[in-house]
Symmetry: C2
Amino acid sequence: MSDSLHIAALGVDAFDRAFEETSTPFIHLDWRPPAQGDTDLVDILFNIETKLVDEKGESLVQKANKEAYTRICKGQPVLKRLRPAHECIPGMTKKSIFHAGPPVRWEDMCGPMRGAYIGALKYEGLAATDEEAERLMASGEITYGPNHANRCVGPMTGMISYSMPLWEVVNETYGNTAYCTINEGIGKVMRFGANGPEVIERLKWLEKVFAPAMDKALVRMGGLNLKNIAAQSLAMGDEMHQRNVAASLNFYKAICADFAEVLKDDPNGPAIVEFLVKKNEQFFLNLAMAMGKALLDAARDIPYSTIITCMSRNGVDFGINVSGLGNEWFTAPCLKPKALYFPGFTEDEANPDMGDSAIVECYGIGGFAMGAAPAVVRFVGAGGLADALEYTRSMGRITYGPNPDLAMPNVDFAGVNTGIDIRKVVATGLLPVINTGVAHKLPGVGQVGAGIVTPPMDIMVQALKAFAKKYL
Amino acid sequence: MSDSLHIAALGVDAFDRAFEETSTPFIHLDWRPPAQGDTDLVDILFNIETKLVDEKGESLVQKANKEAYTRICKGQPVLKRLRPAHECIPGMTKKSIFHAGPPVRWEDMCGPMRGAYIGALKYEGLAATDEEAERLMASGEITYGPNHANRCVGPMTGMISYSMPLWEVVNETYGNTAYCTINEGIGKVMRFGANGPEVIERLKWLEKVFAPAMDKALVRMGGLNLKNIAAQSLAMGDEMHQRNVAASLNFYKAICADFAEVLKDDPNGPAIVEFLVKKNEQFFLNLAMAMGKALLDAARDIPYSTIITCMSRNGVDFGINVSGLGNEWFTAPCLKPKALYFPGFTEDEANPDMGDSAIVECYGIGGFAMGAAPAVVRFVGAGGLADALEYTRSMGRITYGPNPDLAMPNVDFAGVNTGIDIRKVVATGLLPVINTGVAHKLPGVGQVGAGIVTPPMDIMVQALKAFAKKYL
């Protein structure tokens, strides 16, 4: 070997093996061409940088994104109530049922979403059989549409119907309100598309037994800032998407005194406590989502901002909203998660990615905070500690900055990476990483695994082009 | 600079600065002479290695230590009851009061220990005033001595008197039993030497209100394996000495169903739940200690073993027991912790190191598991994440091996370092690191800070010499 030969392998790793096998010294640089080498996109990125400037030559986009980031960080999401959806959503009728993700028509819905609609109609007493429910959906009598358009979010299928209790979270800094359903626990659950009698029975128990007691406790305590719970839980190994073990307990810890007073004379007290404390380690997920919706909605509609205000999936399409582009959806077909499957299931049976839960990644937790939660990487089949830290660090390349209120002790106390910038995603080719559950593709089956997924790159490109059209 | 000059700085770092200032390239090797350069000790270590061998030439010490390590790891510590000390400790009378650490006489006790004895006599109704209590102690009428000699442990002053409820932990693998008091919570507490009316009142509440309900719940559930709680909590950022936030909640989670049933008709139910869940983040510490005592006692009295079976401090002396040396104490004056002090207090007011709690470091948690609990390093003033990881890794050099049941996700799922070997401590000069609370040196004041501490090296040397005398 000549001393003067220095090999740097750029981008693709196809050559590395040849160097390794011949013991040739080399370094691998993980380089990609900017904007995937698409010169139109490079032009847009360049023009955004150079043309969208104020009189002092400062970037309008950077200023707008700072505002969006600041609003996301400064919001104080306070949990106030747990009460029926029809009290929360203006104009909701017994025949309104909302779903996760961007808009989708009944005839185009995926299996688990169809299963969940059938279940929701039975739960509301609008249909007695599956066939009746399907006829009703096809008849056009049922109003449906995205949760996000109703200040709501829901995990997986995300069903929100008239009688379902919703967590009400007020963003006290900016005055907006957001809602999410109660997490049903594990096993056969509507969010994964199951709709049998035990699913309906559990939802009725949550509505009739659990929610009234919890609401009384919340009213008694006068509100609970969920960001404090999230901060404590990041120090306790939760990323709050696929791991909510600590957060669920911290939530109970915060309300336990008022809850115990409310439950004192309730014969259902022990069952209620057991459901919350012991039987549902994902309990806090839905609260993390309502918190995320409350924080992100405050960052909508900032002119020139390229920050993503929601990422959401309906099991067919993945959709995003971007602050400077209002409520317009940019959509493309969902990907299937890279997942670990429960025994007896395979990827063939997996439905593509689904749910409003990716709202949590929009403010820096979930997949973005895997470094804080090394135990979760094994659950979602995403490697070991080093991978967890790398996922977290890499998200710093596509976000505005670290969230000062949400530190990760395991990542040397760094704040979670907050504010996904579509410019940075397109420029780097690095997609947001989302931790997620996986549903069976057929109606009525339920969860089959957990894993990680990204949005399709195409929606980032669409959004950037729409941004260019609007502002350049 | 000549290309051929290569500088390695060994051991002391006095020269490093000179190299740095002159930009001279060098590497610093953290080398120390074996056994601190003491040739007698080097001889002992060499002779242990070469002379204590079986017919196949295999080390008797290594074999004995493997047995000790295996017993520590294989023990299954099951919490069975919470009941009065006099039901647990054979021969205990109303006038028996036991303390933390190795034996110490009343007239030699440190301030907080004296304060605690005064409090314990008032709590038992044996004295009405401080003066009366002091007279009684001086009279010789009170039986006192180390908790460890009574299968017990207690944090800080470690008071165990007749009426105090004790957690009863049975090591189901080896049949031995261990006990520890209930953690009193924060503020003015007897374990830190406080003894005013609110201290006594809280202890009476624990005895009369809390303990009977908890014992009923434990009997109802039939026992709880504490190792499962410890394993879960290591994945949630606790090292279980100075941080028990997750472990305390996980304990409640495990018993919540039975506890809720027991508390259903108890008017004190809400106060009991609030004490356990919300008001006492160190609640699990005493359970971790009882677990440690149950696990370590099973490794006592193994001929030839150099594994430490307890580390314990009475505020004056630090004592250890070593498996192959039975119940003999090796003692020397306690060091003062390197600590962060609460506002208004300084190191001048700190009492030297105290308590039986270092039993948890003997099986690999506490200071040994700081890598699993980066949030704790700031609380004890011991640096950042890198320091936490380094403390944990370095303890691998003085222990037998990793505990397969207690993995630390933050340390890439490594097991905690278990089984402290006095040979390795003396050979490396590396002392066990202990996380600890700090008491005010005067009686009756209470906690003033938290920090880290080590045993004095002298007791390791004493023990090694005693080992040589017995076996070589």
